[in-house]
């Protein structure tokens, strides 16, 4: 390995669980807060709260690694594994609780595109503002202005306030600014998961450029394709701990087996993300393919999902969605009670939802099912990789051959003719 540019030793970050969800928004709590204040002082509330107290949660612990000059380190792991915390520590947004990290050279971090964009300002004005916030000098932005505009493809709307932009235009402009940063060390979080497919491709291309210029990149993503194609090394983060650096192939494999390994666990006990902690809502899922087999369907045949829901009688109006992801964690299809069924429904103590898809023309592959429940505003519970659905070959096109994995996502009929 070449000279280490990033050296991380025993880095850890603890949160007090009480601090993760601070609720000081009303007057009554203000008063209680004030009354507690002297006692908190005694506990040295501000500085070094006891590191092993019961209400301490370690988002990251004992993480050590090195990244060499020009290396692209992919940081992968499940939701809540601590990846974002790691990036926040390295980009100085938050301070570690223990350990240290040393970084040589100018660091830029990109945890969100368009940080500091102001909706009232025009595209041109926002390029300058956002550039400055990302750490560019005025002269630097000026020199690259045309390039940024060309990359963003919003030339015509430069003098329009960005609040009138479509979300695609907004994201393109925001990414264009970020893409023209020239730091020695670049820290990127999942920002490529924005925009339409062609723009995503362009972003990945730009990332590839950055890498070619010998810069060091730390890249968090759920997109295993991007990880496999961009990264030279991969760091797998799991429950706040990081493993050894491995090759991208190995890393991706480890990540997938990690996320797929719990097929034997009943749905009720599967790990899930909840907006506010509560009893599990999704407690069962049965998938039946057209030919009657569980978890297997021939491409183009029907499939039925039976979802058991519990413990949500307090929710008045919810929707539920099933999505299928391929092995590279790309969402392939999405079935939503409101979009497809035209309804939302009141939560219940116990309820069964049945979703029948008359035809599922996916290319033969293994797919993972994700269940999400949300009310109109935010998700309430999300269970990734609840179960697996294998789509297998069927002669659905009548030619004896169908596209396979890597030749698109769907097996759709079409008509070919030759003329002349």
């Amino acid at each position: 390995m070449s000279t280490p540019v990033i050296k991380v030793r025993g880095l850890g970050k603890a949160y007090r669980i009480g601090m993760v969800n601070p609720k000081h928004t009303n007057f009554r709590e203000t008063v209680t807060e004030l009354c507690k204040q002297p006692f908190k002082r005694m506990r040295k509330y501000d500085d070094d709260f006891t590191k092993d107290a019961a209400d301490t949660y370690w988002a990251l612990k004992d993480v050590s690694f090195e990244v060499g000059q020009g290396e692209v380190l992919g940081v992968i792991g499940r939701n809540g594994a601590g990846k974002s915390t790691l990036l926040k520590l390295l980009s100085r947004i938050t301070e570690p609780t223990e350990g240290e990290a040393r970084i040589k050279g100018r660091v830029s971090s990109l945890l969100e595109v368009g940080t500091g964009f102001h909706p009232e300002l025009t595209g041109r004005e926002n390029i300058y503002l956002n550039g400055a916030i990302l750490g560019m000098k005025h002269a630097e932005i000026k020199a690259k202005f045309d390039e940024i505009v060309a990359f963003s493809e919003v030339e015509k709307f430069l003098e329009t306030p960005v609040k009138r932009y479509s979300s695609g235009m907004y994201v393109r402009l925001a990414f264009a600014v970020a893409a023209h940063l020239e730091p020695e060390v670049l820290i990127v979080d999942e920002v490529l998961a924005v925009g339409d497919a062609s723009f995503q491709k362009k972003c990945l291309g730009k990332m590839g450029d950055v890498v070619k210029h010998g810069r060091t990149v730390l890249f968090v993503s759920h997109n295993m394709d991007a990880v496999a194609s961009l990264c030279t090394q991969v760091l797998l983060v799991e429950k706040g701990r990081a493993g050894e650096k491995v090759s991208p192939e190995e890393g991706v494999k480890a990540y997938l087996s990690l996320t797929n390994s719990d097929a034997s666990v009943p749905v009720r006990e599967k790990p899930r993300t909840q907006h506010r902690t509560r009893d599990p809502i999704f407690t069962g899922l049965k998938i039946t393919g057209g030919s009657g087999h569980a978890n297997v369907v021939e491409t183009g045949r029907s499939v039925t999902f039976e979802i058991d829901i519990e413990n949500c009688e307090d929710l008045k109006n919810v929707t539920c969605a099933i999505s299928l992801h391929n092995e590279r964690a790309q969402r392939v299809v999405f079935f939503h009670t409101l979009y497809h069924g035209g309804f939302s429904f009141p939560g219940a103590k116990k309820k069964k939802l049945v979703c029948t898809v008359p035809s599922l023309p996916l290319v033969p592959d293994s797919y993972y099912v994700e269940l999400v429940m949300s009310d109109g505003y935010q998700f309430i519970e999300k269970v990734e990789r609840v179960d697996r659905l294998d789509v297998v070959y069927a002669n659905s096109l009548g030619t004896g051959k169908i596209p396979s994995r890597g030749q698109g996502f769907f097996v759709l009929p079409c008509e070919w003719k030759h003329e002349g």
């Binding site: 990290a101 040589k104 971090s109 940080t115 500091g116 300002l121 020695e184 362009k202 730009k206």
Partner: protein, 312 residues
């Protein structure tokens, strides 16, 4: 897992914009950034603030631009807002008499300072201070993305709101001097001290904005407290009524030493109106308050800064 050819192609540059300078010096001789837990009080990193000074300029520029966008009268509001307040208060307190000051020179008619000028002169620094307190105090909670999604010198966030207030202040002074000349009232020679007073006001406002914005991140209750401070502050600092008009204030002038705003606002009048005596002790108290609040604000901000992203 194998990587197919089509995906590898993604890594190829798709755009032709390779005019960008190459890697530059490769970071070996760069200063090293060390990230580790810090304890206690943290000094202000002046060097960092200086290298990022352009950012402060952009934030101020943004605030000024945004403030009057999509308002029909645009920047005219900066003129109208104080003028309307002056009109209302003048109407309330009568056109003559409140500004009475025995020390004013000239014929008896001139011993009375027009109420509108008196009020205007107090309102200019006060509107600036109260705007800094309310906008500056909420600046961090209103722009949480700047705390939780990026690292930048965070002192700039409250500081920038003061910059835009300063622009308003200069506009108000322009209007004020026009009004003064309409009344045929020449400013005192001590007007040369005005820039120093403005500087003092800026420092005090910064101190308050740093303190309040950092506190608001932790204690959202300050959202409710801040409007209260600005309301009460106006009445106890003799902004629109001279303190001599309030019996208790007149008799116990020393109490006003405890008010950081009074000395400043009173001194603005001394600098502008000939014969409006200086109250050196009150000015001195304001200076001491300003230094204390600014130093405390800076240190408190720096101390709590490292937790902003966690609790914002």
């Amino acid at each position: 897992m194998s990587v197919s050819v089509s995906q590898l192609e993604l890594a190829k540059p798709l755009t032709s914009d390779s005019t960008a300078t190459t890697g530059g010096n490769n970071g070996i001789d760069q200063p090293e950034l060390v990230i580790r837990p810090r304890k206690g009080w943290i000094a202000v990193d002046w060097k960092e603030l200086w290298t990022h000074r352009e950012l402060l300029y952009f934030l101020v520029w943004r605030d000024v631009k945004v403030r009057y966008k999509q308002a029909i009268l645009g920047i005219a509001w900066a003129v109208l807002a104080p003028v309307l307040s002056v009109v209302v208060f003048t109407f309330l307190f009568g056109a003559k008499g409140l500004g009475a000051n025995k020390n004013l020179p000239g014929p008896p008619d001139f011993q009375v300072l027009p109420t509108s000028l008196f009020i205007f002169c107090g309102l200019i620094p006060w509107l600036f201070i109260s705007q800094s307190i309310s906008n500056g105090g909420l600046s961090l909670v209103n722009q949480q993305n700047l705390l939780s999604k990026i690292y930048m010198p965070r002192l700039f966030i409250p500081a920038s709101t003061i910059g835009s207030g300063l622009v308003d202040m200069f506009i108000s002074f322009g209007v004020f001097f026009v009004m003064m000349s309409i009344y045929g009232y020449a400013p005192s020679k001590q007007i040369v001290l005005l820039p120093l007073l403005i500087f003092l006001t800026v420092l005090l406002s910064m101190g308050l904005a740093f303190t309040l914005s950092a506190m608001t991140v932790t204690y959202r209750d300050l959202r409710f407290l801040i409007p209260f401070i600005t309301q009460i502050g106006m009445w106890v600092s003799a902004v629109v009524i001279p303190f001599t008009g309030v019996d208790a204030m007149k008799r116990h002038q020393w109490v006003l030493l405890l008010n950081p705003f009074f000395g400043i606002i009173d001194s603005f009048r001394s600098a502008l109106f000939p014969g409006w005596g200086w109250r050196p002790w009150h000015l001195l108290s304001s200076i001491i308050w300003t230094i204390a609040i600014l130093v405390f604000g800076l240190f408190y901000f720096r101390k709590t800064e490292r937790r902003f992203a966690d609790i914002a």
